[in-house]
């Protein structure tokens, strides 16, 4: 077995110039919200870093997360990052299939036991002992537990792995849960989004490669670097919100003028992600810039949060009719109370007479 290449060697072999490499390091520093002074240290660390083994397991998912990552702009910092890791198991990308693929995974896990990074996309069904999703006859539940045991850390990619996502939406027939609901003895980083921004997972991997550490996390286990601000905080349409200029429909004058989409159900004010700053497709745009409100896909239970086109203040009340029924009940009680009071008044008057 040959000694794995360092990242510096790997880059040079691929013809990446020193200038390009430093540019990548600067981008990495920026991603991790580090000062420019850290760029040389990042470059030095990356030069010497070995390619870590990465096992990527897909469970209840749509492959959208992987599509997001692989279809990111090319060449890209994300692409470079993937040249720097040893992706030893990924069902969609690897050439091997069936038992050969599973064997490759087991070998990689054995060779790097305790040190590999486990990336998971998709939620894990737990109903009926996890029988709703199996790979090679093994339930996702069992596969995750086995793989997590030897992992240095786990990155839950996408909202399904991070929070249960779509499979966990009401009524959740498969008993889908998030990775962090099952694994408690390994560090889990949630890179949520449906799909997540490729740059964000690249940033997490870059930090792991550079410093051997995982990023600081927010209360939902997401990297603070990317999930510290709401979409609303960084949205270029924010001034319209403050001025009270809103699009009332997707094709009115307000929409054409680029006014705020709050009234059309935008969940930007309660959604933490980097879409408004990092953006998508090589920093070209993001949903709000394309004219659609944020659907809050990087937040837990976004699918059950009352509808994508229902404005935030409108609540998610189940029935206005129930309020009417309560009012009717109030009328009956009020009338009953008045009748009782009248009876008592009459009785008192008669007694006095």
């Amino acid at each position: 077995m040959t000694e794995p290449l360092t990242l510096g060697e790997s880059l040079r072999r691929q013809g990446v110039s020193r200038r390009g490499f430093l540019g990548f390091c600067a981008a990495t520093a920026s991603l991790m919200a580090l000062p420019p002074a850290m760029v040389p240290r990042i470059a030095e660390a990356l030069e010497r870093a070995k390619r870590p083994s990465v096992i990527w397991m897909s469970f209840q998912e749509c492959t959208g997360c992987l599509e997001s990552l692989t279809r990111s702009h090319t060449p890209s910092v994300e692409g470079l990052i993937f040249d720097y890791i040893s992706l030893d198991y990924q069902e969609t990308l690897q050439a091997a299939a069936g038992t050969a693929a599973e064997q490759a995974r087991e070998e990689a896990m054995k060779a790097n036991w305790g040190n590999y990074l486990l990336i998971v996309d998709g939620s894990i069904p737990t109903a009926e002992d996890g029988l709703y999703s199996t790979i090679g006859g093994v339930t996702n539940l069992q596969s995750l537990q086995d793989a997590a045991e030897g992992a240095a850390a786990i990155i839950a990619v996408g909202s399904c792995a991070a929070f249960g996502g779509l499979p966990m939406a009401d009524p959740n027939p498969t008993g889908a849960v998030a990775v962090s609901d099952l694994i408690h003895d390994r560090p889990v980083v949630n890179v949520s989004g449906c799909p997540p921004i490729p740059t964000v997972i690249a940033g997490v991997l870059a930090q792991f490669l550079t410093f051997g550490t995982l990023p600081e996390l927010d209360p939902l286990g997401r990297p603070k670097t990317f999930f510290a601000n709401t979409i609303h905080d960084r949205c270029y349409r924010r001034p319209f919100y403050e001025r009270g200029q809103f699009a009332e429909s997707f094709d009115d004058e307000g929409a054409k003028n680029g006014w705020c989409l709050y009234k059309l159900g935008c969940k930007g004010p309660v959604t933490y992600n980097a879409c408004a700053t990092v953006k998508w497709n090589a920093g070209t745009s993001f949903p709000i810039q394309a004219g659609h409100g944020c659907i809050g896909c990087s937040e837990p239970n976004f699918w059950d949060a009352g509808g994508f086109y229902r404005a935030l203040p409108q609540g998610t009340m189940t029935s206005v009719g129930a309020i009417g029924a309560a009012a009717a009940a109030g009328a009956v009680i009020g009338a009953g109370a008045a009748i009782l009071a009248r009876g008592k008044q009459k009785q008192t008057a008669e007694t006095e007479q």
């Binding site: 403050e242 837990p300 949060a305 203040p313 609540g315 029935s319 309020i323 009012a327 109030g330 009020g334």
Partner: protein
């Protein structure tokens, strides 16, 4: 279910139901309760009694000159507080959207910075009237637990709303959830405390005005 989901959904639903039940209960009870019969000969006709009732409903907004000096503070602070509260309640766009979801129609709102300034002035006024209530001997003596609870449940939505709007304190979604929960608390307390005056004050003023008109007195 997150705290915000709970606040936007079940909490608000239950609070609105309790609010509707309580308000109608008390209003119907007040309307149907037996009143003493006035055996005196009416000095004015029905039309004049109605006019008298309506006039008093309006004229009670203004204080007589004789009283004005004595209650100047309450008059100004009270007007400022009520005006500010209704501006914030009815002209803040997210609030309008909430009413729209219940009523099926909305209306134009004011820019957020304007609302924030009005809310801050309103809260300051609310604090001033509380301080006066607690320091003025007469006000202190006649104040009941109801007054203080009503003050708290009214102030909380303002405080949490300002904090959410200005991104102060906790994370926005938590502040928004707390704001909605404080509104739910206000709705639950509303029918059973002095806040119910919002609905009862109009028939009460009308009745007084109509009664005086019946006796030939114009107020």
């Amino acid at each position: 279910m997150t705290l915000l989901d709970f606040a936007r959904g079940p909490a608000l639903q239950a609070a609105l139901m309790i609010f509707a039940l309580g308000v109608v209960w008390r209003a119907v009870g007040a309307v149907l309760i037996q009143r003493t019969t006035d055996f005196s000969q009416p000095r004015r006709g029905t039309a004049e009694r109605v006019a008298g009732g309506l006039r008093t409903t309006w004229s009670r907004f203004f204080v007589s000159e004789a009283l004005e000096k004595r209650i100047h503070f309450q008059h100004i602070a009270g007007a400022l507080w009520h005006l500010g509260f209704f501006i914030v309640l009815l002209l803040f766009v997210p609030h309008i959207l909430f009413f729209e979801s219940l009523l099926g129609f909305g209306w134009p709102g004011l820019p957020n910075p304007v609302i924030l300034v009005v809310a801050a002035i309103t809260l300051a006024t609310l604090l001033a009237v509380l301080i006066r209530r607690m320091t003025n001997p007469v006000s202190r003596i006649i104040s009941t637990t109801d007054d203080y609870i009503s003050w708290i449940v009214t102030a909380l939505p303002l405080v949490t709303g300002i904090m959410a709007g200005a991104h102060l304190g906790l994370r926005y979604e938590t502040m928004l959830a707390l704001h909605l929960l404080s509104v739910a608390l206000l709705l639950v307390w509303f029918p059973f405390g002095k806040l119910m005056h919002l609905f009862l004050i109009w028939p009460a003023r009308y009745n007084v005005g109509a009664l005086f008109a019946r006796r030939g007195v114009r107020i």
